[in-house]
Amino acid sequence: MGMMQLFGFGKATFSHGIHPPEYKAVTEQKSIRRLAFAPEMILPLSQHFGAPSIPVVHVGQEVVRGELVARADGFMSVPLHAPATGKIKSIGLMPTARGPKAPAIVLKLYSGVSQEVLYSSDQNIADMSQQAIIQAVKDTGMVGLGGASFPTHVKMTVPDGQKIEVVMANGCECEPYLTTDHRVMMEYSMDLFTGIRVAMQATGAGRAIIGIEDNKPDVIEALRKACPADGSVTVGVMKTKYPQGAEKMMIKALLGREVPSGGYPSAVGVSMYNVATLSQLGALLPQGHGLIERVITVSGPGIEKPGNYLVALGTPLRHVLEQLGFQGDARELIMGGPMMGVSVASLDVPVTKGVSGILVLTEESMSKQIPKKVWPCIRCAHCVQACPIHLNPSELGMLAAKRQYETMEKRYHLNDCFECGCCTYVCPSGIPLVQYFRIAKAINRENRERAAV
């Protein structure tokens, strides 16, 4: 129970945070529609956190939709499946969202084939052991679809000496613009409950909570009705506030527990998954399918037909934008939400497993958001009162300006920052605080690596 409930506000939440405009009305009531296949798909081998997958196909080979094209490289890795039926065109370096080119498989589609998933092996989950489920989850190639892309089977593996009590399904979707989780919870709720049972079985958790922000009353009502009568799965309603969907914030809001600094939710008996991850898992696992498509929100002032689309993984942005109409002065493409997403430099970048949305911003909309002028920090403390981790971004920012990166880490807890961007959002002086912190972390990391060598 959060503090706010003690004061009678009735909604669970965490302390601090911000209330950015939501921009969700455009797409939140639009049903999920399938986007046409692109003539060519790009499948980066590293769409997940961990070691890149290893290709098991060769150039010129024909593959069928759903077929394995790259295998996992060790425990911290996942396999990759063909999103469509076609022929392997090349295996080599292709552009990625983060910037540098990275190894990828390029698949040329056969036009006019049915694009049915032919690879499957039915499994009865209820009879499977924890180990077998975790292996089966790994075989689907599932990663966190909320954006972190952390391999799901690794999350399901409970560390020694820890016990998972609660599975949490994260349906906060606190990033502005994004409505994929909203639609997935509305339209794929049966798959979601299947996925929750899989996660409970894999982790040995006795109960599950679906956490939803109170800006989605339709979902709350629908899922409450669908919850099993035995009370093992419940809906936890939270105040609409950014970053409510950050795992530490959500656990604090719903259970009153603080994940220790530097630790994982398992330290407080929680295993958390995005609702999109669980519903995909619920759809794929019983049939033994691999992860080959996902739902994304395409929105922003620069797009003609905003909505929620089921997109084959590997679809280049160019194709998505051609299909949905691109406004003339669109200048900025973001993968993910506007608070934590990644700005993309090339239209050849494909939709990958961790992409929850594509935002298209126009020159006009951007000019309103990007500060034209940066004032010195006047210590107004707006950032101090916004930081959900209770850091001191003002002091960190001043230290960053003086390049005191080590002091930032040692005395001001830089590494506890998870880069939600609240500080930059509120700063009236227009100081790019979280951007400074990313750089500081990267420099500290480099220095450590250099010292280790």
């Binding site: 900025e332 010195p376 210590r379 107004c380 506890d416 227009g430």
Partner: protein
């Protein structure tokens, strides 16, 4: 539509930004000061306006003179020098010689801000540094108060206003004690309505308690103000002075007189709240505010001057780095036992 070469911009997230800017905040504070400023001009006439102008001119000219040539106009357009000049002017006696007001403005920006490294770097409130400088340099002129002029005498200028620079100014016979002076030296209280409406002698901008509160309310609604600072200062002053009043009601004033007299409201709402020179965290802010409240009452009750707001704020400004050091927020997930 076919997309070939489309020029894309790269910008690191977050790409949303709330609209309030530091420049806007400065404009809000100026606006919030307007009612009390106009009241001061109404009560003290054209002479007071000239004092304000001289003080602002001193501040802005110093900012302009000591800024790098390429950023001069930009720095002036921040309105920070204008605000500092105005705040200083509001704490000056209306009959002060204009050249002194000008020097005070220059000292505010020069000694209060620029030598520290400019905006955001100073330890002390610049306007109060300017005032302390003037009080140390020209003690007689800074403690000679004029009675209020009626509306018919609006265009009369105090003779001392126009004193030539560096000459002993001539004070005409009429001078009046401030409510605090009356209290301290003659144990004579002033009516509450006179204090609230501003119908007393004193500094140009400090007399009207009601209009200062109105300005504070505006800043509160615009979220430009940390409410804890005025609340902590005024609460402490009320509490502490009530205690003294109970002990000895002939020498010490009651809580309402203490809150509405002198520069307390001006200082608590517009000067102690200067974010640059006050602590960052809520805990630190409370310590800071209570410290100012205690010092104000101590100086007023036991010090040599009838008024202590300026020194109280400056002293707590000096303590701010230390307060900040010991009131850092508890980082999420550190030092906690989970239920």
């Amino acid at each position: 539509m076919k997309l070939k070469e489309h020029r894309l911009k790269l910008q690191a997230a977050p790409l949303l930004k709330q609209s309030m800017t530091t420049g806007q905040t400065m404009r809000d504070v100026l606006l919030a000061l307007l009612p009390a400023t106009l009241a001061g001009l109404w009560y003290f006439g054209l002479g007071a306006l000239l004092v304000l102008i001289a003080s602002i001119a001193g501040a802005m000219l110093t900012e302009w003179l000591f800024s790098p040539a390429e950023s001069r106009m930009q720095r002036l357009s921040d309105n920070t020098a204008l605000l500092t000049g105005l705040l200083l002017g509001l704490t000056l006696p209306p009959a002060l010689p204009l050249w002194m007001a000008f020097i005070g403005g220059a000292a505010s920006i020069g000694l209060g801000k620029l030598i520290w490294g400019g905006m955001g770097q100073n330890l002390f409130n610049p306007a109060l540094v300017g005032r302390a400088f003037l009080l140390a340099t020209f003690p007689i002129a800074m403690t000679t108060w004029s009675p209020q002029s009626g509306p018919t005498e609006f265009f009369q200028i105090y003779a001392s206003n126009l004193a030539a620079p560096f000459m002993q100014s001539v004070y005409d016979g009429i001078s009046a004690a401030t409510p605090l002076g009356l209290m301290k030296f003659e144990q004579q209280s002033t009516g509450l309505w006179a204090l609230v409406s501003g119908n007393t002698s004193g500094c140009i901008g400090e007399t009207s308690g009601l209009l200062l509160l109105l300005g504070g309310l505006y800043l509160l609604l615009r979220r430009d103000l940390d409410w804890r600072i005025p609340a902590g200062i005024l609460g402490t002053v009320a509490l502490f002075s009530t205690t003294l009043y109970i002990v000895d009601s002939t020498h010490y004033p009651g809580p309402l007189f203490s809150v509405f007299s002198g520069g307390l409201l001006l200082g608590a709402i517009f000067m102690a709240t200067d974010p640059v020179t006050s602590p960052l965290t809520p805990r630190g802010t409370w310590i800071f505010a209570v410290g100012i409240g205690v010092l104000v009452v101590l100086i007023r009750a036991y010090g040599g001057f009838p008024e202590g707001v300026m020194y109280a704020i400056l002293l707590m400004n000096a303590a701010t780095p230390l307060i900040d050091r010991y009131t850092q927020p508890r980082v999420f997930g550190k030092g906690i036992k989970n239920p």
